[in-house]
Amino acid sequence: MSSFQRSCGQVQGLKKWTGMLCSLAILGCSSDLSEAPPQPIAFSHLAHSENDIACIRCHQGAETQAQAGLPPISSCASCHRRAAIPDHPEVLKFMERLERREPLVWGKVNVLPASAMVHFKHKPHARAEVDCSVCHGDVAQMTVAQSVINIADMGWCVSCHRENEASVDCLTCHH
């Protein structure tokens, strides 16, 4: 490869890089906290919390794993099939999906920007007894789940880490 071709490659690399920077900037500006993502069924956290169902009951990984996770519809069905409002139209919707063996694809409420390359883990936060609502807001009172903080704002994370003397080393999250 000639030096000319090589430098062309470099310029292309630079262009790609500039494009990425631009998309980063757009990502940073476009977070709209008031907008809740569309969901496959009208799930209400409020209705569940009123029945004393704790977050951990469905988001089972929150205390032990990196991701809190979402339950499969079969576990929704285990309550809803007989005992809990089996005739509700939204319940019927997912029961139908279950019969067809199709999963529900939930809309993600809190999305970390991929460009930040953050490896967030729920487990250490649960161990430090950080309440779910600190980051997720009072989801228990929400009919439609939506984010209450700008998750793309690293300052939010860092200020809490500082207050609680948790690590503020970059590698803790970005690696």
Partner: protein, 227 residues
Amino acid sequence: MTRWGMVIDTDRCTGCGACVVACHAENNIQTVGEEEAKNGRAMHWLRIERHYEGEFPDIRVRFLPVLCQQCGSAPCEPVCPVYATYRTPEGLNAMVYSRCIGTRYCANNCPYTVRFFNWHAGEWPKPLDRQLNPDVSVRPAGVMEKCTFCVQRIQDGQDRAKDENRSVTDADIETACSQSCPAQAITFGDLENSDSRVAQMAKSARASHLLEDLGTDPSVIYLLGGE
């Protein structure tokens, strides 16, 4: 205080390359292909250097696994204009991908040539993407990368120790390269902990640093081969 370190016994190394493969698999390192390798853009966070001693036919080959030396006084750090590479409190030479703007000054200043620039984004055509390690970021084009001493494994070990309310021991953390070495040439641990294997091995009369006279204060210690 903790200072993560590694001891490599060159007498044990057979140059098999298992560590190189393990490192690629663990850390989502891309393979650049023949053309790019010809341009000197091959990416191996860990490579095995071959050194020949003597004249044919009385020849002897020595192998030297070379990786980021996680220097205490790293030449790559002060040249970064955006503080994307720095020394962590645990003695790692950190590389923050999301901060890197790709000037490549760090790679130019590294005497061990163990930093690699992503000229292109890595490609893992389906179903190869399923082999990617979810604990390690896939680096985009335009970003520098290098050995992290498997920081995700360090964190995992620390997490387990914290669960059990105790301090980290040798048994908690093993890097991908040391785990895969059939000859057990590579040992990882805390150099500051006098009970650790690495601290014991570092006392050996065979202990040496790579390019020691540069004063980079590496965290990788080589046990030189005997006669």
